[in-house]
């Protein structure tokens, strides 16, 4: 151990720069993995906290087949009657907006709040509060939490299905402060049911068991009881189980982040391997001397691994910081969903798991990356080394060409698999399994193409043109002779370019589809009193009076409505149901056809996710949970529609009313009479001043709104792209610096035969520039292929089909940024090269 400390660990102190670099590289790789852990724990902890603050002592909760009023009064009494139940607490729980009013504090912006309905049975959760059942039933006044009370004025209003309700007489109740940071409005249960269109149903029931009753047993008993009582699909959940919709949020973010973090970690591993190889190579003589003196090879391997493990640990800890930094923006964008869908704010938690994962990943990846080089170093020829004639491993040109060909073949094989994954609509379960794997293998093969093609291309470029400048020729020679390192830098830069370009192109493609669909099918203006994005669950609906007045405005022909709701009550069987008074039936069809008559007669159009998971094809019967129990509906067609992860159903307006009743709309489309312009109509609606919160959007503005939503969802990719740029900065910097350390002698020799400091600097920067230019050029080509592969699998993975539309400007822009990053990263290594002390560098040993 003493020897290991002497030979290996002391190097960390002697070579602080290198140690810091290696640690940073590992840290960068670990960051993304850590961010994944941080995000999942933050989400689940935040959800759990939110659940706990509402559930109090109740360990169980019962929910119905639809989130809005899915639990019937019969079910509530059955629960209360079940043996072992101390109390059953029915609640209406949803989200809406509060307008703070003129004299509210803050910017007067609407406040997103949780809206609750409860009766005296709430004492089962909060303890005795002297609630009088009779008196409470007569009440209609609201209670608000302090978090809200402090921000609103006396003229504040809360939005409901029945329009705005003043909060002037609202009672301030400190018991509500723990929920949603105090942003809560509570109503007596009956009033909440009325205001939010729940009929006599409630959204959920918390169950507190009698003393000494086992929770698991009670859960089973409740399930049996509810099954007997009626055939509604009631479900008894752990009180802290996340609301089913949260699963949709996770499904949106996690797969993507995992893929990217795996790739980033791969690049990190290559960099660690790179730097370990370098440091071992630099140590060849030392190794040889130790060998000649009789040191064992095990000693060297163990020593190297110990050294690397220390670096990996430090890197892992850096990864925690980096991971939190990455998690912050992503969680903010996740919070956008969770708050709008369930009124759950997300706080970033970096629990002990994050530390453990960071350490394991940091140490694990570094050690794994170091094993190969360490074992290779053991096999060096001691005699040759001491005669200072160490040979460098050269990759023969033939070999690298063959590798490139192999990689290209693999890319095409991957593309083939992507193609197979989407044949016949991609509706088979095996196709959904195949698609991500096919895309991932195409990506990996493409990375390999990038790594192998760039050195070869550099050699071609070197030969094709007559380079006059000595420093340029030397730069070429250096890059060509160290293809692996060249490849690593190229991959780092190319990857960042490709992710940026593909994200921008995908955005352009989605925008194009949205624009095309809306301009072809939508007439009139969209009216709402809330930003419609992610507001599916919001109770802040259009006021019935406003709706009536809208229809009576001059120039208005008619109003088209849409209704959206979530049915199902567990993460796996959630479906989004939609219906429109004027269905376009213009979606991209995966199977079946859009027969309007049959659709109106009750057949339904489903998304590809639902078709795949339930094995449904046109002509089959779909089972849908409704407040009246499950119903069977014939499938008319499968559309490429990715809403709810492809688990969606479109039914006729009639059917929607029959099955789920009518609720107030979030948005309506107001269509003009013949001869009235959309713009004029929009003016008319706004000038009528029907509601201060009314938003009116023409077709172009709707296109902008939806494009904005898409861009927002793609924002996390942009964050990742920026992360990758930082990675490539580190990659280029570390590679050039490490190579520079190794080439110090060489720099000395070059200076001795007459190279000026400026030329030395230029040589190093030219190397980076060449790699960046050729690397981004190859990446540009490669990203076109990758984009093609992505578009092949999106109908299967996301559910939407998108056309091959590219954003060439983004390509140029990201390539320029990548080249700039490479040049920036080369500045310091170039500076160091220029400052080399000739005599010091040449002195032997």
């Amino acid at each position: 151990m003493r020897v290991i400390r002497l030979l290996s660990l002391r190097r960390l102190r002697l070579q602080p720069l290198r140690a810091v670099l290696a640690a940073v590289v590992v840290g960068a790789g670990a960051s993304l993995v850590v961010s994944l852990v941080v995000l999942t724990t933050s989400l689940s902890q935040s959800v759990e906290e939110a659940g706990r603050s509402l559930a109090g002592p109740a360990p169980l909760r019962v929910i119905g087949p639809v989130p809005r009023g899915g639990v019937t009064p019969e079910a509530v009494s059955a629960i209360a009657d079940t043996e072992g139940v101390e109390s059953a607490v029915p609640l209406v729980q949803s989200i809406t907006l509060v307008d703070p009013g003129e004299r509210g504090t803050g910017d007067g912006e609407e406040i997103s709040v949780m809206i609750l309905g409860a009766d005296c049975r709430i004492e089962g959760l909060v303890g005795e509060i002297g609630c009088d059942q009779e008196a409470a039933a007569a009440l209609t006044v609201a209670a608000v939490g302090r978090g809200l009370a402090d921000r609103i004025g006396p003229d504040a209003e809360v939005r409901t299905n029945l329009g705005r309700v003043p909060l002037a007489d609202a009672v301030r109740v400190d018991d509500l402060n723990a929920l949603n940071d105090g942003a809560v409005v509570a109503f007596p249960l009956a009033e909440a049911q009325r205001l939010l269109g729940r009929g006599d149903g409630v959204d959920l029931v918390y169950v507190v068991p009698e003393d000494g009753v086992a929770v698991a047993e009670l859960q089973q008993r409740l399930e049996r009881r509810l099954e007997v009582e009626d055939d509604l699909d009631q479900r008894v959940l752990d009180a802290l189980d996340p609301p089913p919709l949260i699963g949709v949020v996770l499904a949106n973010f996690l797969p993507l982040l995992s893929i990217i973090s795996l790739l980033a970690l791969g690049v990190g591993a290559v960099l660690v391997r790179n730097s370990i190889t370098l440091s071992l190579e630099e140590r060849r003589r030392q190794t040889a001397i130790v060998g000649a003196l009789g040191g064992s090879s095990r000693l060297l391997v163990v020593g190297t691994i110990a050294e690397v493990a220390v670096l990996g640990a430090v890197g892992g800890l850096l990864g925690v910081l980096g991971g939190i930094a990455v998690a912050e923006p992503v969680s903010a964008s996740m919070e956008d969903f969770t708050q709008k869908l369930a009124g759950i704010p997300i706080d970033v938690h970096a629990g002990p798991t994050a530390f453990v994962v960071a350490l394991v990943v940091g140490i694990g990846v570094s050690v794994l990356a170091a094993v190969g080089p360490a074992r290779r170093a053991v096999r060096i020829d001691v005699a040759a080394e001491l005669a200072s004639r160490g040979r460098r491993d050269e990759i023969a040109q033939g070999t690298s060409l063959r590798r490139l060909l192999l990689a290209v073949v693999l890319v095409f094989a991957g593309l083939g698999l992507c193609y197979v994954a989407q044949t016949d609509g991609g509706l088979e379960p095996w196709q959904a399994t195949l698609a991500p794997g096919a895309f991932l293998s195409t990506t990996i093969a493409m990375v390999y193409v990038l790594a192998t093609a760039v050195p070869i291309l550099l050699r071609l470029v070197e030969r094709r043109f007559r380079w006059r400048r000595g420093s340029t020729r030397l730069a070429f020679a250096n890059l060509g002779r160290e293809p692996r390192r060249t490849g690593v830098m190229a991959v780092a830069l190319g990857f960042a370019t490709a992710v940026g370009f593909i994200t921008a192109s995908f955005n352009a493609s989605v925008t194009e589809v949205v624009t095309e669909q809306l301009s072809r099918n939508m007439t009139g203006v969209e009216v709402s009193s809330i930003e419609p994005d992610f507001s599916l669950n919001s109770e802040a609906r259009l006021d019935p009076d406003v709706l009536r007045e809208l229809g009576e405005l001059p120039g208005v022909d008619r109003m088209e409505r849409g209704a959206y709701l979530v049915a199902g009550n567990r993460p796996g069987n959630l479906v989004g149901v939609s219906a429109y008074t004027d269905p376009w039936l213009a979606g991209d069809i995966a199977a079946g056809r859009h027969d309007r008559a049959r659709f109106e007669a009750g057949e339904v159009i489903i998304g590809p996710g639902l078709a795949r998971s339930e094995g449904l094809r046109p002509g089959d019967l779909l089972t849908l949970d409704t407040p009246q129990g499950p119903v069977e509906l014939p499938v008319l067609a499968v559309d490429y529609n990715g809403d709810f992860g492809g688990r969606n159903i479109q039914i006729s307006w009639e059917l929607m009313g029959e099955l789920f009743g009518r609720s107030a709309p979030l948005t309506v489309i107001v269509e003009p009479e013949r001869g009235t312009d959309d713009e004029v109509l929009a003016r008319t609606v706004l000038d009528a001043d029907l509601d201060p919160a009314l938003q009116v959007r023409t077709v172009d503005e709707v296109i902008d709104r939806i494009s904005g939503e898409v861009a927002e969802q793609l924002a996390s990719f942009e964050a990742i792209q920026r992360g990758l740029l930082i990675m490539s900065f580190v990659a280029v910097l570390s590679t050039l610096l490490l190579v520079g350390i190794q080439r110090r002698r060489e720099f000395g020799m070059l200076a001795a035969v007459g190279m000026t400091p400026n030329e030395l600097r230029r040589m190093v920067i030219t190397e980076a520039a060449l790699v960046a230019v050729v690397g981004t050029a190859v990446a540009a080509l490669g990203s076109l292929v990758q984009y093609g592969a992505l578009l092949l699998i999106t109908p299967v993975v996301i559910g939407y089909r998108n056309p091959f539309i590219i954003d060439p400007l983004a390509l140029v822009q990201y390539a320029v940024v990548a080249i700039g990053v490479a040049l920036l990263a080369a500045l310091y290594p170039g500076h160091r090269a220029a400052r080399v002390e000739v005599l010091d560098a040449l002195r032997y040993e």
Binding site: R389, G390, R391, R392, E394, R466, R468, R469, G470, S471, R473, L474, A477, N478, R481, E482, E746, G748, M749, L750, A751, A752, V753, G754, M755, T756, P757, N758, E759, V838, L839, L842, Y844
Partner: protein, 220 residues
Amino acid sequence: MAALLRFEGVSKRYSAGAREVVALDGVDLTIDAGELVALVGRSGSGKSTLLHLAGGLDTADSGRVLLDKRDVGSLSIAERSKLRRREIGFVFQFFHLIPTLTVVENVELPLLLDGAKRGDRGRELIERVGIGPRADHLPGELSGGELQRAAIARALVARPRLLLADEPTGNLDSANGEEVLQLLRDEVRTEGTALLMVTHDADATVRADRSHTLTDGHIS
């Protein structure tokens, strides 16, 4: 004939920790164009230091080093680099070839740095020093004698007027050493280059035009 290289009272001190080492102490020396001068002395007597000052790899603490009446010490680093590239050739004991470049690329390096077109000069010299078949090999594949021949070819490729050789045979066996010395002498005569060579070889001293001895930084 005009003096090509001139040392005027040149001193150089090194401080190694608290201890100060006087490597050169008031050295005067003149070398004319085309002259062949041998420099001998015990290890540590300042021979290498003198060569480094002559080649502008280092600067004197006092006195002047003149190359063609130009004060080498007053030139900028870049100017000194260009001087080495065009007018001075170096041959080191440890060859100092760039391991990533082939022999011919190494030899042509000074021309390359000047942005010259690729010509025949490099290969011609490689043929002349007798390692023609090795031209496209990497240094790692050559023997010590071959490496030093390549280094000599590189030192001469830009037709310098002064060649500085620091124990060029110090790392070679005697047979190889003898051959390399012979070659060096022949080549400087052919090219008309002046040679200042540090050597231990008595024979080499005899065949030089002049020979100087350094003792503790003093020249005689």
